[in-house]
């Protein structure tokens, strides 16, 4: 695991990865195991139908609210907030730690005294963060799928994969933003702060846009809009929205390289 910056970074992430996996798998399994008590419960559906439109926008995760169906249930309980939130936190932690973390700890001086370019360093760090996010997404997918089969949930492995891919893409986009903020400032705390603030703002813009007309024009700027608009649990991935998320990630990675190359190290 010490053959490259990429592998060394994965190695550093593995401790956290174990705990993230346990948490995500546990949460997924728990939610799925409760589903049999929800299925076919018309009263619950009636309750949700009476929610104000605003709340439906908040929780719907694309498409109509339909709490008792498998897709509706997973959308509301997991994919509207918890899954993307947790994947986002893990990705922001990895992205902010990648370069700025080493700079904060002072190990970057020595690493960059080796024959490795800053471009390569930033890209290998980015690759590690993508790998971690994809692996966590895989953990979510496999736990949901096993759970779904076990309780006889009416949802396909492909649809579950589409939803987790969507969430991973969102997480990688924010991971890239955190990497960029870290590469530009060299300070991990600042990178986390900037990225978290940007994520909360984007989340609120997307969630409140249906209520506040003023926000309508900017809703499409929010990555969360492109995440939720896909409705992957029902209809699979929408290439255009997915592309927007991947483009944010690519721009973040490229910006990281540019910012890192031109700066004095602390």
């Amino acid at each position: 695991m010490l053959h490259s910056v990429f592998l060394k970074t994965l190695r550093d992430l593995r401790r956290g990865f174990v705990w993230w996996s346990v948490g995500l798998a546990g949460m997924s399994a728990l939610m799925v195991s409760v589903y049999p008590t929800v299925r076919g419960n018309a009263a619950l559906n009636k309750l949700v139908e009476d929610y104000p439109a605003a709340l439906k926008g908040f929780f719907g995760f694309g498409g109509e609210l339909d709490y008792t169906s498998a897709a509706g249930y997973l959308g509301m309980e997991l994919f509207s907030l918890m899954v993307p939130l947790l994947l986002l936190i893990a990705a922001i932690a990895a992205g902010s730690g990648a370069v700025a973390g080493e700079e904060d700890r002072g190990t970057l001086d020595l690493l960059l005294s080796l024959p490795v370019s800053r471009t390569r360093l930033a890209l290998e760090k980015f690759a590690a963060l993508v790998t971690e996010s994809v692996a966590l997404g895989f953990v979510v997918w496999i736990s949901l799928w096993i759970g779904a089969v076990a309780v006889g949930m009416d949802i396909s492995a492909a649809k579950l994969a589409a939803a987790t891919t969507d969430a991973v893409a969102l997480a990688v986009a924010y991971g890239a933003v955190a990497l960029l903020a870290g590469c530009a400032t060299g300070r991990r705390g600042v990178a986390i702060g900037i990225t978290a603030a940007a994520a909360v703002a984007a989340y609120l813009v997307n969630s409140l846009a249906p209520l506040v007309d003023l926000l309508d024009p900017v809703q499409k700027l929010s990555p969360f809009y492109h995440y939720a608009a896909q409705s992957p649990l029902r209809s699979g991935l929408d290439p255009l929205h997915l592309l927007v998320l991947l483009a944010i990630a690519a721009v973040g990675a490229a910006g990281s390289v540019l910012a890192f190359r031109r700066r004095d190290l602390a």
Binding site: S4, D12, L110, S113, L114
Partner: protein, 300 residues
């Protein structure tokens, strides 16, 4: 052959804070070049400019005739570096760290590392967080030297090393220069530099004040000698001794300033009953004072 390092009016400001100003020097192959100055003089700034960790405000520095910003990878392949503020991966063992760096350097094995580890008696299998400062410093030295670099850049490398290890370290440097390799050694301690360096640059407040052969410097450096006598010697007992000046008397003890060899003073002291003898090597400040005022202690 051209210079291994050539700095030409190299200048670095951090905002309005001074790093180094208008610094020019040349280091030729096979020499140990001492970079001597108090903390904050701009030594680390100069080194970090050489490695492209920071960029100059103006002027330029070349290593092997190459530009650190354009040809950084080629340069760093041929350089080994121990930072002044050495931070290592705390969770790795020394062995893991050396393996990691060897891989990133594209080395096939561990190069000279096994031999260096043995010479420095470095423990390889404990996590770095459990190592003492001296042992960490050894890890720093081994990673800097394992690929047998043409240029070794050492920023305060012997801090934390015990005297015995310092001796080994000095031997390693001599061995390196014996093979035609070059050493850039920064330090705030004259003693550390003068034992191994061929030439030394004195840096103060961001400027190189002079570059001198160590031999020449050693001849100009002076020592303070405090002698306490059984009976106070006559007031004129030590006048006219070459290289010796009486600085002050306190009861039965006398403080001398000594320039050059100790012999004349020792001969003169032999005529009296000496209770104790305390020798202080001149600190940097003293040398700066004498060199920059261009006066030696007994000239006036």
């Amino acid at each position: 052959m051209s210079a291994v390092v050539r700095a030409d009016r190299l200048t670095k400001f951090y905002g309005s804070a001074r790093g180094i100003v208008d610094t020019s020097f040349e280091i030729v192959a096979g020499e140990v070049f001492g970079f001597l100055g108090p903390n904050g003089a701009g030594k680390s700034t100069t080194i970090r400019l050489m490695l492209d960790l920071i960029r100059p405000t103006s002027g330029r520095v070349e290593l092997f005739g190459l530009d650190p910003q354009k040809d950084g990878i080629e340069i760093r392949r041929r350089v080994g570096y121990v930072p002044g503020d050495l931070r290592l991966y705390e969770r790795l063992t020394a062995r893991d760290l050396l393996q990691y760096f060897a891989h990133v350097r594209g080395m096939r094995g561990l190069g000279a590392a096994p031999r260096l580890v043995e010479q420095l008696q470095l423990e390889l299998d404990r996590p770095i967080r459990a190592l003492s400062k001296g042992n960490r410093q050894k890890v720093g030295l081994v990673q800097a030297m394992m690929h047998r670099p043409e240029l070794l850049v050492l920023d305060e490398p012997t801090s934390g090393l015990d005297p015995l290890v310092q001796q080994t370290f000095n031997d390693l440097l001599r061995e390196a220069t014996g093979e035609g390799r070059t050493v850039f050694l920064s330090s705030h301690m004259l003693g550390e530099v003068q034992r191994v360096a061929d030439r030394v640059a004195l840096v103060r407040e961001g400027r190189i004040e002079l570059v001198e052969e160590v031999e020449t410097l050693r001849r100009r450096a002076f020592t303070r000698v405090e002698v306490s006598f059984a009976d106070a010697p006559p007031a004129d007992a030590f006048t006219g001794i070459p290289g010796v000046r009486e600085l002050e008397r306190r009861g039965d003890s006398v403080l001398f300033v000594l320039e050059g060899t100790a012999d004349p003073l020792v001969k003169a002291l032999a005529l009296h009953r000496v209770l104790s003898l305390d020798v202080h090597e001149a600190d940097l400040e003293d040398i700066f004072l004498t060199l920059y005022r261009n006066e030696s202690p007994h000239a006036a």
